[in-house]
Protein backbone atom coordinates (compact mmCIF):
# COMPACT_ATOMS: atom_id res chain seq x y z
CA UNK A 1 0.00 0.00 0.00
CA UNK A 2 1.17 3.49 -0.79
CA UNK A 3 1.88 5.45 2.39
CA UNK A 4 0.07 8.40 0.87
CA UNK A 5 -3.16 6.42 1.14
CA UNK A 6 -3.00 6.36 4.93
CA UNK A 7 -5.13 9.41 5.58
CA UNK A 8 -5.44 10.22 9.25
CA UNK A 9 -8.89 10.76 10.69
CA UNK A 10 -9.29 12.88 13.80
CA UNK A 11 -11.57 11.65 16.57
CA UNK A 12 -13.76 14.73 16.01
CA UNK A 13 -14.51 13.49 12.48
CA UNK A 14 -15.35 10.05 13.85
CA UNK A 15 -16.88 10.62 17.31
CA UNK A 16 -18.17 7.03 17.36
CA UNK A 17 -14.73 6.01 18.63
CA UNK A 18 -15.73 7.56 21.97
CA UNK A 19 -19.03 5.70 21.95
CA UNK A 20 -17.23 2.45 21.24
CA UNK A 21 -14.73 2.99 24.07
CA UNK A 22 -17.58 3.87 26.44
CA UNK A 23 -19.47 0.73 25.45
CA UNK A 24 -16.40 -1.44 25.94
CA UNK A 25 -15.79 0.14 29.35
CA UNK A 26 -19.34 -0.59 30.49
CA UNK A 27 -19.08 -4.16 29.20
CA UNK A 28 -15.87 -4.54 31.16
CA UNK A 29 -17.36 -3.00 34.32
CA UNK A 30 -20.30 -5.37 34.04
CA UNK A 31 -18.08 -8.44 33.89
CA UNK A 32 -15.75 -7.09 36.56
CA UNK A 33 -18.55 -6.46 39.06
CA UNK A 34 -20.07 -9.86 38.22
CA UNK A 35 -16.78 -11.64 38.95
CA UNK A 36 -16.10 -9.70 42.15
CA UNK A 37 -19.71 -9.70 43.26
CA UNK A 38 -18.68 -10.23 46.90
CA UNK A 39 -17.62 -6.59 47.01
CA UNK A 40 -20.27 -5.01 44.83
CA UNK A 41 -24.01 -4.80 44.71
CA UNK A 42 -25.67 -7.65 42.81
CA UNK A 43 -27.42 -5.24 40.50
CA UNK A 44 -24.27 -3.52 39.27
CA UNK A 45 -23.45 -6.00 36.46
CA UNK A 46 -26.90 -5.55 34.97
CA UNK A 47 -26.84 -1.82 35.40
CA UNK A 48 -23.56 -1.62 33.50
CA UNK A 49 -24.78 -4.08 30.90
CA UNK A 50 -27.85 -1.90 30.37
CA UNK A 51 -25.56 1.12 29.96
CA UNK A 52 -23.53 -0.84 27.37
CA UNK A 53 -26.73 -1.70 25.49
CA UNK A 54 -27.60 2.01 25.54
CA UNK A 55 -24.16 2.77 24.10
CA UNK A 56 -24.72 0.23 21.35
CA UNK A 57 -28.11 1.81 20.62
CA UNK A 58 -26.47 5.20 20.46
CA UNK A 59 -23.93 3.88 17.93
CA UNK A 60 -26.76 2.62 15.74
CA UNK A 61 -28.46 6.02 16.08
CA UNK A 62 -25.20 7.73 15.08
CA UNK A 63 -24.98 5.59 11.95
CA UNK A 64 -28.48 6.74 10.96
CA UNK A 65 -28.31 10.39 12.08
CA UNK A 66 -25.87 12.27 9.87
CA UNK A 67 -25.49 15.45 11.95
CA UNK A 68 -21.91 15.58 13.12
CA UNK A 69 -22.48 17.92 16.08
CA UNK A 70 -25.23 15.69 17.46
CA UNK A 71 -23.02 12.63 17.06
CA UNK A 72 -20.07 14.40 18.66
CA UNK A 73 -22.01 15.65 21.66
CA UNK A 74 -23.82 12.38 22.35
CA UNK A 75 -20.66 10.27 22.03
CA UNK A 76 -18.58 12.63 24.16
CA UNK A 77 -21.28 12.71 26.81
CA UNK A 78 -21.45 8.93 26.78
CA UNK A 79 -17.69 8.41 27.14
CA UNK A 80 -17.51 10.99 29.96
CA UNK A 81 -20.37 9.15 31.65
CA UNK A 82 -18.57 5.80 31.33
CA UNK A 83 -15.28 7.27 32.59
CA UNK A 84 -17.14 8.75 35.56
CA UNK A 85 -18.45 5.28 36.34
CA UNK A 86 -14.97 3.76 36.03
CA UNK A 87 -13.56 6.35 38.43
CA UNK A 88 -16.64 6.17 40.65
CA UNK A 89 -16.24 2.42 41.08
CA UNK A 90 -12.60 2.96 42.05
CA UNK A 91 -13.55 5.63 44.61
CA UNK A 92 -16.22 3.29 45.97
CA UNK A 93 -13.62 0.54 46.31
CA UNK A 94 -11.31 2.92 48.18
CA UNK A 95 -13.78 4.31 50.69
CA UNK A 96 -16.63 1.80 50.96
CA UNK A 97 -14.70 -1.43 50.62
CA UNK A 98 -11.59 -1.18 52.80
CA UNK A 99 -11.46 -4.98 53.08
CA UNK A 100 -10.68 -5.25 49.36
CA UNK A 101 -7.04 -6.18 48.78
CA UNK A 102 -4.63 -3.47 47.70
CA UNK A 103 -3.46 -5.60 44.79
CA UNK A 104 -6.96 -5.57 43.34
CA UNK A 105 -7.28 -1.83 43.86
CA UNK A 106 -3.89 -1.15 42.26
CA UNK A 107 -4.65 -3.51 39.38
CA UNK A 108 -7.94 -1.72 38.75
CA UNK A 109 -6.24 1.67 38.91
CA UNK A 110 -3.32 0.85 36.62
CA UNK A 111 -5.06 -1.52 34.21
CA UNK A 112 -8.42 0.19 33.84
CA UNK A 113 -8.72 3.69 35.29
CA UNK A 114 -5.50 5.20 33.98
CA UNK A 115 -5.39 3.52 30.51
CA UNK A 116 -9.03 4.33 29.75
CA UNK A 117 -8.67 7.98 30.79
CA UNK A 118 -5.36 8.37 28.97
CA UNK A 119 -6.74 6.77 25.79
CA UNK A 120 -9.75 9.08 25.70
CA UNK A 121 -7.59 12.14 26.48
CA UNK A 122 -5.06 11.18 23.78
CA UNK A 123 -7.85 10.74 21.25
CA UNK A 124 -9.40 14.06 22.17
CA UNK A 125 -6.14 16.00 21.96
CA UNK A 126 -5.07 14.31 18.73
CA UNK A 127 -2.19 12.17 19.97
CA UNK A 128 -4.10 9.08 18.84
CA UNK A 129 -6.16 8.63 15.70
CA UNK A 130 -9.10 6.27 15.32
CA UNK A 131 -8.43 3.27 13.12
CA UNK A 132 -10.52 0.41 11.75
CA UNK A 133 -10.96 -2.61 13.97
CA UNK A 134 -9.42 -5.77 12.54
CA UNK A 135 -12.64 -7.74 12.81
CA UNK A 136 -16.26 -7.28 13.62
CA UNK A 137 -18.12 -10.34 14.79
CA UNK A 138 -21.59 -9.58 13.53
CA UNK A 139 -23.15 -8.48 10.26
CA UNK A 140 -24.48 -4.91 10.31
CA UNK A 141 -27.92 -5.98 9.15
CA UNK A 142 -28.40 -7.84 12.41
CA UNK A 143 -27.64 -4.80 14.60
CA UNK A 144 -31.24 -3.82 15.48
CA UNK A 145 -32.09 -7.45 16.22
CA UNK A 146 -28.99 -7.78 18.42
CA UNK A 147 -29.98 -4.59 20.24
CA UNK A 148 -33.39 -6.06 21.06
CA UNK A 149 -31.86 -9.43 22.07
CA UNK A 150 -29.34 -7.65 24.32
CA UNK A 151 -32.01 -5.54 25.97
CA UNK A 152 -34.19 -8.62 26.62
CA UNK A 153 -31.13 -10.48 27.96
CA UNK A 154 -30.35 -7.69 30.41
CA UNK A 155 -33.98 -7.52 31.54
CA UNK A 156 -34.07 -11.29 32.09
CA UNK A 157 -30.83 -11.07 34.08
CA UNK A 158 -32.18 -8.27 36.25
CA UNK A 159 -35.38 -10.23 36.87
CA UNK A 160 -33.48 -13.40 37.68
CA UNK A 161 -31.33 -11.58 40.22
CA UNK A 162 -33.73 -9.18 41.87
CA UNK A 163 -37.16 -10.71 41.34
CA UNK A 164 -36.56 -14.43 40.91
CA UNK A 165 -40.06 -15.40 42.15
CA UNK A 166 -41.92 -14.76 38.88
CA UNK A 167 -39.28 -16.66 36.92
CA UNK A 168 -39.38 -19.51 39.45
CA UNK A 169 -43.16 -19.56 39.17
CA UNK A 170 -42.88 -19.77 35.38
CA UNK A 171 -40.27 -22.52 35.71
CA UNK A 172 -42.45 -24.43 38.23
CA UNK A 173 -45.54 -24.14 36.03
CA UNK A 174 -43.52 -25.44 33.07
CA UNK A 175 -42.09 -28.34 35.06
CA UNK A 176 -45.54 -29.23 36.47
CA UNK A 177 -46.96 -29.14 32.96
CA UNK A 178 -44.19 -31.40 31.70
CA UNK A 179 -44.79 -33.83 34.57
CA UNK A 180 -48.53 -33.83 33.86
CA UNK A 181 -47.87 -34.43 30.18
CA UNK A 182 -45.61 -37.33 31.06
CA UNK A 183 -48.27 -38.81 33.31
CA UNK A 184 -50.91 -38.44 30.64
CA UNK A 185 -48.51 -39.96 28.16
CA UNK A 186 -48.01 -43.00 30.44
CA UNK A 187 -51.73 -43.59 30.70
Amino acid sequence: MDLGDLTMISSLELPEVYGLIGTFLFVFLSLYTAIFDRYHHKGFPYLYQAAAVAGFGQLIYSSICGQIHVRLLSNLFYVVFSLTNVIGLFVRMLYRRPELSNVLKCAYLFLIVLPSNLTVASLYFGYLQPGPLPLSLFPLEASPLLLVVSAIGVLAGVLATNKPEPLRAVANVTSVKIKLDNKTGKR
Binding site: D2, D37, L59, V149, S150
Partner: protein, 182 residues
Amino acid sequence: MKVGLAMSRKTLRILPLLILSTIIAGASAAVYNLMYMQAHGIGVEAAKVYFIEGSDSGTDCTVNIGTNGTYVKISNMKGWPNATRVYENVTAIHNGDASDRTATLTFDSWSGDTPYVTIAVKVFNSAGTQQGNTINVGTQGSSASLTIPDGENFRVQWEIKWNAGALSSYSVSVTLSLRVNE
Protein backbone atom coordinates in the same frame (compact mmCIF):
# COMPACT_ATOMS: atom_id res chain seq x y z
CA MET B 1 -18.90 -29.21 48.03
CA LYS B 2 -20.56 -25.92 49.00
CA VAL B 3 -17.74 -23.94 47.40
CA GLY B 4 -18.15 -25.94 44.20
CA LEU B 5 -21.89 -25.31 44.17
CA ALA B 6 -21.38 -21.58 44.72
CA MET B 7 -18.82 -21.47 41.93
CA SER B 8 -21.11 -23.22 39.49
CA ARG B 9 -23.93 -20.81 40.41
CA LYS B 10 -21.61 -17.90 39.83
CA THR B 11 -20.49 -19.35 36.51
CA LEU B 12 -24.13 -19.71 35.50
CA ARG B 13 -24.72 -16.06 36.41
CA ILE B 14 -21.65 -14.82 34.58
CA LEU B 15 -22.15 -16.91 31.43
CA PRO B 16 -25.21 -15.00 30.12
CA LEU B 17 -23.43 -11.74 30.89
CA LEU B 18 -20.43 -12.95 28.95
CA ILE B 19 -22.56 -13.92 25.95
CA LEU B 20 -24.38 -10.58 26.07
CA SER B 21 -21.07 -8.74 26.36
CA THR B 22 -19.74 -10.52 23.27
CA ILE B 23 -22.87 -9.61 21.32
CA ILE B 24 -22.77 -5.96 22.40
CA ALA B 25 -19.03 -5.56 21.82
CA GLY B 26 -19.05 -7.33 18.43
CA ALA B 27 -22.08 -5.50 17.11
CA SER B 28 -20.76 -2.14 18.34
CA ALA B 29 -17.48 -2.84 16.57
CA ALA B 30 -19.37 -3.59 13.35
CA VAL B 31 -21.26 -0.29 13.55
CA TYR B 32 -18.04 1.57 14.37
CA ASN B 33 -16.26 0.03 11.37
CA LEU B 34 -19.12 1.19 9.15
CA MET B 35 -18.80 4.72 10.51
CA TYR B 36 -15.03 4.58 10.00
CA MET B 37 -15.54 3.76 6.33
CA GLN B 38 -18.05 6.61 5.98
CA ALA B 39 -15.55 9.03 7.51
CA HIS B 40 -13.16 8.19 4.72
CA GLY B 41 -14.94 10.24 2.05
CA ILE B 42 -14.28 9.37 -1.57
CA GLY B 43 -13.74 12.61 -3.45
CA VAL B 44 -13.70 13.68 -7.09
CA GLU B 45 -10.86 15.32 -8.97
CA ALA B 46 -10.36 16.43 -12.54
CA ALA B 47 -8.93 13.85 -14.93
CA LYS B 48 -5.16 14.25 -15.16
CA VAL B 49 -4.79 12.35 -18.42
CA TYR B 50 -7.40 12.85 -21.11
CA PHE B 51 -8.07 12.65 -24.83
CA ILE B 52 -7.92 15.64 -27.15
CA GLU B 53 -8.76 15.95 -30.83
CA GLY B 54 -6.01 15.32 -33.37
CA SER B 55 -5.39 17.18 -36.62
CA ASP B 56 -7.25 14.53 -38.67
CA SER B 57 -10.43 15.27 -36.76
CA GLY B 58 -13.15 16.92 -38.81
CA THR B 59 -11.48 16.49 -42.18
CA ASP B 60 -10.71 12.78 -42.64
CA CYS B 61 -12.79 11.42 -39.79
CA THR B 62 -15.11 12.54 -37.00
CA VAL B 63 -13.80 12.63 -33.45
CA ASN B 64 -16.12 13.17 -30.49
CA ILE B 65 -14.43 13.73 -27.17
CA GLY B 66 -16.56 12.60 -24.24
CA THR B 67 -17.31 14.55 -21.08
CA ASN B 68 -14.12 15.35 -19.15
CA GLY B 69 -12.06 13.86 -21.99
CA THR B 70 -12.12 10.43 -20.45
CA TYR B 71 -13.37 8.71 -23.59
CA VAL B 72 -13.27 9.36 -27.29
CA LYS B 73 -15.44 8.12 -30.16
CA ILE B 74 -13.89 8.05 -33.61
CA SER B 75 -16.16 7.52 -36.60
CA ASN B 76 -16.04 7.69 -40.40
CA MET B 77 -12.55 6.21 -40.68
CA LYS B 78 -12.26 4.21 -43.89
CA GLY B 79 -9.70 2.10 -45.70
CA TRP B 80 -9.10 0.86 -49.22
CA PRO B 81 -9.00 -2.84 -50.16
CA ASN B 82 -5.47 -4.19 -50.47
CA ALA B 83 -3.86 -0.93 -49.38
CA THR B 84 -2.94 0.54 -46.01
CA ARG B 85 -4.66 3.74 -45.02
CA VAL B 86 -2.91 5.71 -42.30
CA TYR B 87 -4.63 8.23 -40.03
CA GLU B 88 -1.63 9.87 -38.46
CA ASN B 89 -3.26 12.05 -35.84
CA VAL B 90 -6.82 11.01 -35.08
CA THR B 91 -6.70 11.79 -31.41
CA ALA B 92 -4.04 12.50 -28.84
CA ILE B 93 -3.53 11.57 -25.22
CA HIS B 94 -2.69 14.60 -23.14
CA ASN B 95 -1.02 14.56 -19.72
CA GLY B 96 -2.36 17.56 -17.83
CA ASP B 97 -0.59 16.61 -14.61
CA ALA B 98 2.48 18.33 -13.20
CA SER B 99 4.53 15.12 -13.39
CA ASP B 100 5.05 12.18 -15.74
CA ARG B 101 2.23 9.68 -16.04
CA THR B 102 2.41 6.08 -17.13
CA ALA B 103 -0.45 4.66 -19.12
CA THR B 104 -1.27 1.55 -21.12
CA LEU B 105 -3.37 1.54 -24.27
CA THR B 106 -4.77 -1.95 -24.79
CA PHE B 107 -6.94 -3.73 -27.34
CA ASP B 108 -10.24 -4.58 -25.66
CA SER B 109 -12.70 -5.97 -28.24
CA TRP B 110 -13.91 -5.67 -31.81
CA SER B 111 -16.89 -6.75 -33.88
CA GLY B 112 -18.22 -6.69 -37.46
CA ASP B 113 -16.47 -8.04 -40.56
CA THR B 114 -13.27 -8.67 -38.66
CA PRO B 115 -11.79 -11.44 -40.89
CA TYR B 116 -11.34 -8.98 -43.77
CA VAL B 117 -9.35 -6.26 -42.09
CA THR B 118 -6.02 -5.65 -40.42
CA ILE B 119 -5.77 -2.69 -38.08
CA ALA B 120 -2.70 -1.46 -36.20
CA VAL B 121 -2.63 1.35 -33.67
CA LYS B 122 0.60 3.17 -32.84
CA VAL B 123 1.35 5.96 -30.39
CA PHE B 124 3.95 8.66 -31.11
CA ASN B 125 5.42 11.40 -28.98
CA SER B 126 5.77 14.99 -30.13
CA ALA B 127 9.23 14.21 -31.58
CA GLY B 128 7.69 11.56 -33.85
CA THR B 129 9.17 8.55 -32.04
CA GLN B 130 6.88 5.60 -31.53
CA GLN B 131 6.10 4.91 -27.88
CA GLY B 132 5.43 1.38 -26.70
CA ASN B 133 4.53 -1.56 -28.91
CA THR B 134 2.22 -1.54 -31.89
CA ILE B 135 -1.30 -2.59 -30.92
CA ASN B 136 -2.52 -5.27 -33.28
CA VAL B 137 -6.30 -5.01 -33.17
CA GLY B 138 -7.81 -8.47 -32.72
CA THR B 139 -4.88 -9.81 -30.71
CA GLN B 140 -5.89 -10.13 -27.07
CA GLY B 141 -3.44 -8.52 -24.67
CA SER B 142 -1.86 -6.38 -27.36
CA SER B 143 -0.93 -3.12 -25.68
CA ALA B 144 1.37 -0.13 -25.68
CA SER B 145 2.95 1.03 -22.43
CA LEU B 146 3.47 4.78 -22.39
CA THR B 147 5.22 7.28 -20.14
CA ILE B 148 3.78 10.68 -20.95
CA PRO B 149 5.78 13.67 -19.68
CA ASP B 150 3.83 16.47 -18.02
CA GLY B 151 1.95 18.71 -20.42
CA GLU B 152 2.82 16.60 -23.49
CA ASN B 153 0.52 15.11 -26.15
CA PHE B 154 1.01 11.62 -27.54
CA ARG B 155 -0.73 11.26 -30.90
CA VAL B 156 -2.52 8.03 -31.77
CA GLN B 157 -2.07 6.70 -35.30
CA TRP B 158 -4.43 4.20 -36.94
CA GLU B 159 -3.36 2.00 -39.89
CA ILE B 160 -6.21 0.22 -41.65
CA LYS B 161 -5.86 -2.36 -44.40
CA TRP B 162 -8.87 -4.20 -45.85
CA ASN B 163 -8.42 -7.48 -47.74
CA ALA B 164 -8.58 -7.45 -51.52
CA GLY B 165 -12.08 -8.97 -51.55
CA ALA B 166 -13.60 -6.61 -48.99
CA LEU B 167 -16.86 -4.98 -50.03
CA SER B 168 -17.76 -1.35 -49.43
CA SER B 169 -20.57 -2.48 -47.12
CA TYR B 170 -18.09 -4.04 -44.70
CA SER B 171 -17.25 -2.35 -41.42
CA VAL B 172 -15.79 -3.11 -38.03
CA SER B 173 -16.05 -1.52 -34.59
CA VAL B 174 -13.03 -1.50 -32.30
CA THR B 175 -12.75 -0.73 -28.59
CA LEU B 176 -9.44 0.13 -26.95
CA SER B 177 -8.96 0.95 -23.30
CA LEU B 178 -6.53 3.38 -21.74
CA ARG B 179 -5.37 2.59 -18.23
CA VAL B 180 -3.64 5.44 -16.44
CA ASN B 181 -1.56 4.58 -13.40
CA GLU B 182 -1.57 6.73 -10.29
